[in-house]
C-alpha cells in the first residue's frame, strides 16, 4: 500500500476526523438533557392533563435551549466537512482535528446541564399551576448560564480552525494546538453540567416557595458563576496554547504542551461539577429553611472556594509545563514523563474536586436543618474537604517528580512506558478515593446537622472512614513510585 502524503490530503483527513469527533460527542449531551425535559413534561402532563398545551410549549422551549450546544457541534462539523483549511499550512490538520475534540466534548456538559432547570420548571408548574409563566423565565435564566462553557468551546474551536499556521511545524506547534482542544473540550464538561444542576434545584425551590424567587435567583447565579471558574481556567490555557504556543522546540516541547492541555482539561471536570453540586445544595437548603439565606451564601462560597483547590493544582502544573524549560533528556522517556505529569495531575484532580463539592452540598443542607449548629458544621466540612484533597495532592506530587526527574538511564521503550504508566496509575487511582472521601464527609456533615452534640464522635468516625478510603490512592502512589524509581 503506497500512501502519497500531500498537505491537502493530510489536512482534509484531520478535518474529517475532527468533524466526526465533534458531532459524535456533541450529540450526547444535548440529547440526554432533552430527554430529561421530555420525561418530566410527560410526568407533568400526566398529573395535570388539562395543561398539556402550555407544558408542551415549555418543554419545547427548554429543549430548544438544550439543543444549542448540539447545534454548535453540528456547525463546527459542517465547516470541517465542507471547508478547506489546507491554506493554513500542514499544522492545520492538528488544528482542525483539535477543533472537533474541543467542540464535541465541550458540548457535553452544557447539553446535559440545560436539562435540569427545564425538568424542574415543568415539574414545579405541575405542582403549583399558578406559577406557569414565572417558571419558564427562571428556567431560561438557569439554562443560559450553563451554556457558557459550550460558547467558550465554540470560540476556541473557531480560533483553532481559522488559525493561520503556515510555516510552523507540527511538532511542537501542532501538538500545542491539540493540547488547546483537549484543555477546552474536557474543561467545559464539569462547569456546564454542574451549573445546570444548580439551576435545576433553584427552579425546584422557586416552585415550592414562590416568595423565595429573588434570593434563590441570586444564590443560583452566584453559585453558577463560581462554578464557571474551572472552565475559565481551561479557556485561558487554551488561548495561551494557541497564541503563544512554541514555534520551535524538540519533541519534548510537544509533550509538555499536550500535558498542559490534559492537566487543566481533566482537572477542571471535578471542580466544575463539584462547585455546581455545592450551589445545588445551597439552593435546596434555603428553599427548606429560608431564614438561613444569608449564611448560606457564605457557606456555599467557602465550600466552593475549597473545592477549587484541585483545579488550581491542575492549572499550576499546566502553566509549569508550558513555561518551564525542563532539564530532562529529549528522548522518548522524557516525552512520556511530561505527558504522564499532565495525566497524573489532571485525572487525580477529578475525584477530589467532585468529592469536595459533595461535602459542601451536604454541609449547606445540614445548616438548613439546624441553623443554630452551623458553627459545628463548618469545621467538619473543612476537615472533610481537606482530607478529601489528599488524592489530588498525590497527583501533584507524582507530577512534580515526573517533571523534575533526571532520567539518567538508557532511553528504552520499557523505561518510557514505566513513567507513562506511573502517571496513569496515580491519575486514575486518585479518582475513586477523592469521590469516596467526599461522600463520607458529606454524610458526617448531614448527621452533625441533626445530632450537633455528637460532633466529636462523627468527626472521629469520618476521619477513620476517610483514612481507609484513602488506601487505594496510596497503593496507586506506591505503584507510581515503583515504576518511576525501581524499574
Amino acid at each position: 500500500m503506497d500512501i502519497a502524503l500531500d498537505t491537502v490530503s493530510i489536512v482534509k483527513a484531520g478535518q474529517f476526523l475532527g468533524a466526526g469527533i465533534s458531532m459524535g460527542f456533541g450529540a450526547i449531551g444535548a440529547a440526554v438533557g432533552e430527554g430529561f425535559v421530555g420525561g418530566y413534561a410527560n410526568c407533568s402532563i400526566g398529573r395535570r392533563v388539562g395543561m398539556a398545551s402550555p407544558y408542551t410549549r415549555t418543554m419545547l422551549i427548554g429543549q430548544a435551549v438544550a439543543e444549542t450546544s448540539g447545534i454548535f457541534a453540528l456547525m463546527v462539523s459542517v465547516l470541517l466537512v465542507f471547508g478547506d483549511f489546507s491554506a493554513n499550512g500542514i499544522c492545520a490538520w492538528t488544528a482542525t482535528m483539535s477543533a472537533g475534540i474541543c467542540m464535541g466534548l465541550g458540548a457535553l456538559g452544557s447539553g446535559i446541564g440545560a436539562g435540569y432547570p427545564a425538568q424542574e420548571a415543568l415539574w414545579g408548574s405541575a405542582r403549583q399551576p399558578a406559577l406557569g409563566g414565572q417558571m419558564t423565565t427562571s428556567m431560561l435564566i438557569g439554562q443560559a448560564v450553563c451554556q457558557t462553557p459550550a460558547i467558550f468551546a465554540l470560540v476556541i474551536a473557531f480560533m483553532l480552525m481559522f488559525k493561520n499556521c503556515s510555516g510552523l511545524d507540527v511538532w511542537p506547534y501542532g501538538a500545542s494546538l491539540i493540547g488547546a482542544g483537549i484543555a477546552m473540550g474536557f474543561g467545559a464538561i464539569g462547569s456546564g453540567w454542574g451549573g445546570g444542576m444548580a439551576g435545576g434545584k433553584a427552579c425546584e425551590g422557586m416552585a415550592r416557595q414562590p416568595r423565595l424567587r429573588s434570593p434563590l435567583t441570586t444564590l443560583m447565579l452566584v453559585g453558577q458563576a463560581v462554578a464557571q471558574t474551572p472552565a475559565i481556567f481551561a479557556l485561558l490555557v487554551a488561548i495561551m496554547l494557541i497564541s503563544i504556543g512554541p514555534q520551535k522546540g524538540t519533541l519534548l516541547t510537544s509533550a509538555a504542551m499536550l500535558g498542559a492541555g490534559i492537566s487543566i482539561g481533566f482537572g477542571a471536570i471535578g471542580s466544575g461539577m463539584g462547585n455546581g453540586v455545592t450551589a445545588q445544595g445551597a439552593c435546596e437548603a434555603i428553599s427548606k429553611e429560608s431564614s438561613t439565606t444569608k449564611e448560606m451564601l457564605t457557606f456555599m462560597l467557602v465550600g466552593q472556594a475549597v473545592g477549587q483547590t484541585p483545579v488550581i493544582f491542575a492549572l499550576v502544573v499546566s502553566l509549569m509545563l508550558m513555561f518551564i524549560k525542563f532539564q530532562i533528556p529529549a528522548t522518548i522517556v522524557g516525552f512520556c514523563a511530561l505527558l504522564a505529569a499532565g495525566i497524573s495531575m489532571g485525572l487525580a484532580a477529578i475525584g477530589s474536586g467532585y468529592g469536595n463539592g459533595d461535602t459542601a452540598e451536604s454541609a449547606c443542607k445540614a445548616v438548613a436543618s439546624n441553623p443554630e449548629g452551623k458553627s459545628g458544621i463548618l469545621p467538619l466540612m473543612l476537615v472533610g474537604q481537606a482530607v478529601g484533597q489528599t488524592p489530588a495532592i498525590f497527583g501533584l506530587l507524582v507530577a512534580f517528580i515526573l517533571m523534575f526527574g533526571s532520567y539518567s538511564g538508557p532511553a528504552t521503550l520499557p523505561a518510557a512506558m514505566a513513567v507513562l504508566a506511573a502517571g496513569i496509575s496515580m491519575g486514575f487511582g486518585g479518582i475513586g478515593p477523592g469521590v469516596g472521601n467526599g461522600i463520607t464527609a458529606a454524610a458526617a456533615c448531614e448527621a452533625a446537622g441533626y445530632r450537633p452534640e455528637e460532633r466529636g464522635l462523627l468527626m472521629r468516625t469520618m476521619l477513620v472512614a476517610q483514612a481507609v478510603a484513602q488506601s487505594t490512592a496510596i497503593y496507586a502512589l506506591v505503584i507510581a513510585f515503583v515504576l518511576i524509581f525501581v524499574v
Binding site: 496509575s425 469516596g436 468516625t461 477513620v464 476517610q466 478510603a469 487505594t472 505503584i479 515504576l483
Partner: protein, 82 residues
C-alpha cells in the same frame, strides 16, 4: 532506538501495571467512602451504637478493599515477576 521483543513485553507489562492499579483503585475508593458515609449517618441517628457501627464499617470497608488489593497484586506481578 532498537526495540527487541523482550523490550516490547516489558513495556506492555508496565503499562498494564499502571492501568490495573489506576482503574482498580476507583471502585474501592468510592465504595469505601459510601460505607463510611452511611456509618456516619447511622451513628448520627444512634450514637450509643457507635462501637458496633464502626466495627461493621471497618469489616465492610475491608471487603470492599479486596479488589483494590487484587489490583495492587497484579500490578506488582506485572512489574516484578513476569
Amino acid at each position: 532506538m532498537d526495540i527487541s521483543g523482550a523490550d516490547l513485553v516489558r513495556a506492555a507489562a508496565f503499562i498494564g501495571a499502571g492501568i490495573a492499579m489506576g482503574l482498580g483503585a476507583i471502585g474501592p475508593g468510592v465504595g469505601e467512602g459510601f460505607v463510611g458515609g452511611k456509618a456516619c449517618e447511622a451513628i448520627g441517628r444512634n450514637p450509643e451504637e457507635a462501637g458496633l457501627l464502626t466495627r461493621t464499617m471497618l469489616v465492610a470497608q475491608a471487603v470492599a478493599e479486596s479488589t483494590g488489593i487484587y489490583s495492587l497484586v497484579v500490578a506488582l506481578l506485572l512489574i516484578f515477576v513476569v
